[in-house]
Symmetry: C2
Subunit: 116 residues, 2 copies
C-alpha cells in the first residue's frame, strides 16, 4: 500500500464555477507585479486568457477585482480592489481551514488502510 | 452579488492522483451492473479508458478493486473486491464530512459578502 493522502480542489460557484486556484494565483501575481500582463506571463498564461478569467469572475461575483491604473485592456497597470483583497483573504483562509479539516477526517476515515 | 457556494473536488493521492469522483462512480456502476464494460457504457466512457483508470488506481493503492468473474480484459463480468467496497464507503463518508465542514466554514469566512 502506498501512502495515501487527500487532495482537494476548492472552488467557489455562483451558477457556474467563478473562482478557484487559478484566478486566486493570478490576483496574487497582480498584487506583486501591478500588472495583469506581467501576472499572466508569470503563470505562462496568455494575457487574453487572464483577462477573460478575471472578467468572468467579476461578472459572476458582481463586483470588480481589478482597478486598471492606465491602459486597461491594452495591458496597462492593475491593482486589486478592496473587494478582491478581502475575497483572496477569505478564500485562502477557507482553503486552509477545509484542507486542515480534510487531513483530520482522512486520518479517521482511512485509518483501516494503515492496518492492512 | 450572485449567491456564492463552495464546490470541492476531492481526490486521494499516493505520489500521483489515484482515486477521485470518476473512479468512484465507475465502481458504483460496476456494483450495479456486474460488468466493467456496462459501467463504462453507462458513463459514456470507452471500455479501454475505464480499464486503464481501474488498473492505475489498483497499482497506486496496492490492492485489487475488481474481481473479474469471467472474461477479464475481454470484458466479462466484474464485481468489487472487499477492499473496493470499504474504500468506496470511506471515500464517500470522507467527501460528505469534508463537504459539510466546507459549507459551515464557507458561511463563516464569507459572511461579509452577504452584507455588501
Amino acid at each position: 500500500m502506498h501512502k495515501l493522502h487527500p487532495g482537494l480542489t476548492i472552488r467557489l460557484f455562483t451558477e457556474e464555477k467563478c473562482f478557484g486556484p487559478g484566478v486566486a494565483r493570478l490576483l496574487r501575481q497582480v498584487e506583486q507585479t501591478h500588472s495583469l500582463r506581467a501576472a499572466a506571463m508569470s503563470m505562462q498564461m496568455a494575457y487574453s486568457k487572464a483577462w477573460t478569467i478575471v472578467k468572468k469572475a467579476e461578472r459572476e461575483l458582481g463586483f470588480p477585482l481589478l482597478h486598471s491604473t492606465t491602459g486597461g485592456r491594452s495591458g496597462g497597470g492593475a491593482t486589486l480592489t478592496a473587494e478582491a483583497v478581502r475575497l483572496l483573504e477569505s478564500y485562502e483562509a477557507f482553503c486552509q481551514d477545509v484542507n486542515e479539516h480534510a487531513r483530520q477526517a482522512f486520518q479517521t476515515r482511512f485509518a483501516w488502510l494503515e492496518q492492512e
